[in-house]
């Protein structure tokens, strides 16, 4: 049974803008899937359909094998919100309580859990995003990066099976960006949480995403693992995206300078390995490297 199964879904806004046109989108349980697209490609519309904020005009959406909608047997709003959690792009849209603790407790209390269980979930969620020391703080005293992590904790406290994030690294500094992606990787790999991430930031994806969907003007242009996606450069350009910077460098060296690079490295680790093969061994200083951890692209 798939975690998310979208078949032939279309959506047109009231002003006539066609945001999605007959798209298929599938995510298996425990996968880390990225929806990659430029501004206006339909990423946010797709996300809002998955969480039931918008209703599809055509097509079917199923979460964990059960459809969203008003037909018999479909998920109720309460069931849906327990299965799918959405982290908004702007944390201010999502953090509405006065303190971190009250905000994280909002969802569990709505589930009518005992206060002991509410507190346990709040502690676990804040610990998962390394925000336990922020527990008693007022929301408006938090930095942007802290607000982002607390907004993620508020959703984690609902213990959703599928976690959806809209541009989770937007507005973060490089350290905050790396921290956020590591958190998501940990949730996906250790907690087996299904993660769907909408972004137009390409550099991090090869390190984290199992599969990538490329969206352009409401259609899926391509779907597959990152090495497959980024070797279709024309498609990437058509989607108004770009290659990861390290891949672009390697591509330019291969194309313009004739450097014999095999395939197209997508991460610093891959690029480094390839370059080390090309550099004569006597030119490499003994006793240095390997061992650069691939934390950042």
């Amino acid at each position: 049974m798939r975690a998310v199964d979208v078949q032939g879904v279309s959506f047109t806004y009231d002003d006539g803008t066609e945001a999605l046109s007959g798209i298929d989108f599938r995510v298996e349980k425990g996968e880390f899937v990225a929806v990659l697209g430029s501004n206006g490609s339909g990423k946010t519309t797709l996300i809002q359909l998955l969480v039931g904020l918008l209703k599809a005009k055509r097509g079917k959406i199923a979460i964990g094998g059960r459809q969203i909608g008003s037909m018999a047997g479909s998920l109720t709003a309460e069931e849906l919100y327990q299965r799918v959690g959405l982290v908004f792009q702007n944390p201010n849209d999502q953090l509405f309580a006065a303190t971190v603790e009250e905000d994280c407790a909002f969802g569990p209390r709505n589930l009518n859990l005992t206060e002991a269980e509410v507190q346990r979930r709040v502690t676990d969620a804040l610990a998962a995003v390394t925000a336990l020391p922020l527990r008693g703080r007022a929301i408006h005293h938090l930095s942007f990066g802290e607000q982002k992590r607390v907004s993620l904790a508020g959703v984690l406290a609902m213990r959703p099976a599928v976690l959806i994030l809209d541009e989770p690294t937007a507005g973060l500094d490089p350290a905050g960006e790396a921290q956020m992606m590591q958190l998501l990787k940990k949730l996906n790999r250790e907690e087996r949480m299904t993660v769907i991430l909408a972004t137009h930031s390409v550099d991090m994806l090869p390190l984290f995403a199992n599969r990538i969907y490329v969206l352009d003007r409401g259609r899926v242009l391509q779907e597959g693992p990152s090495e497959e996606i980024f070797c279709h450069q024309e498609m990437i350009i058509r989607a108004k995206l770009r290659l990861p910077y390290v891949s672009r460098l390697m591509y330019e060296m291969k194309r313009h300078d004739g450097v014999p690079i095999d395939g197209l490295p997508l991460t610093i680790g891959e690029a480094r390995a390839q370059l080390l093969e090309l550099i004569p061994k006597e030119m490499i200083l003994p006793g240095i490297g390997p061992g650069i951890e691939e934390i950042r692209p």
Binding site: Q82, N92, F96, A138, I139
Partner: protein, 260 residues
């Protein structure tokens, strides 16, 4: 400046006042407000004003911030005293002629104006001290403890939370206008300000929509759930009783004791 006006950083300091249960502080504040507002002489309100300001100074709150928070109400008090002086009463004090108008100040009006001004000042200083010694969310907790309508408390929480967001947004918009010379002439400044006010209202509507979506996704069904509050301890109850007795005694002394 706007952020200073609403800033609650002093409420997060650790001192004797911030450690008291917010329900105790709220009850004592209400008792003091009732005493101040019903007093027939300005002594008690002025004494409360001096006491509260002294406490605020002891908590090392910058005088500039206190002056900023008192500035608007003080101007209202000044207007109140002037209006009462010239409108109420019969015993003339002095006469002013202004642009062909003759205005006579009266003793009864001045006395009433000063009494009303003293009451406002006293009440204001109580609220000022409460706001400096208690974070807003703890006041909301206390309100819930007193079974104030959940809807009202919920609206107050959301208003408090989004004041800062909208202030930030309005600040950014105002800076953008200023950088493009939006406030260089009086007429232009007025136009810029009205645009800013309109844009902030539109932002607040959009923000409300997005926040409601986020709340729905976390199971919101029309009422914000609140956690339980611990019962008031014996120490808290004693503190309430002692404070109310002291306020009543001060009220009795200032209102009747000085006469008799």
């Amino acid at each position: 400046m706007m952020f200073d006006l609403f800033s609650d950083i002093f409420t997060y300091r650790d001192n004797a006042l911030t450690r008291i249960d917010p329900r105790v502080k709220l009850l004592v504040a209400v008792a003091a407000l009732v005493a101040v507002v019903t007093s027939a002489r300005p002594i008690l309100p002025l004494a409360v004003f001096v006491l509260c300001l002294g406490t605020v100074a002891a908590l090392r709150v910058p005088a500039k911030l206190v002056a900023l928070r008192l500035a608007a109400p003080l101007s209202t008090i000044a207007v109140l005293v002037v209006i009462q002086t010239f409108v109420t009463g019969t015993t003339p004090l002095f006469t002013l002629t202004f642009a062909g108008w003759t205005l006579t100040a009266k003793a009864e009006g001045l006395r009433l104006g000063l009494l009303l001004g003293a009451r406002v000042l006293g009440a204001l200083s109580i609220v000022l001290l409460l706001g400096i010694a208690t974070p807003a969310h703890r006041i909301f907790q206390a309100l819930r403890g007193f079974r104030i309508s959940k809807d009202w408390v919920e609206i107050a929480i959301l208003m408090y939370r989004y004041i800062f967001v909208l202030m930030d947004r309005a600040g950014d918009l105002a800076a953008a206008q200023r950088l493009r010379l939006g406030y260089t002439a009086r007429g232009r400044a007025l136009a810029s300000f009205t645009t800013l006010a309109g844009a902030t209202i539109v932002h607040s509507f959009e923000q409300a929509g997005r926040t409601h979506d986020a709340m729905r996704l976390r199971g919101y069904r029309g009422t914000m759930p609140f956690g339980p509050l611990p019962a008031l301890g014996r120490r808290d109850r004693s503190l309430i009783a002692l404070s109310v007795i002291l306020i009543a005694a001060a009220y009795g002394f200032c209102e009747w004791g000085a006469n008799g």
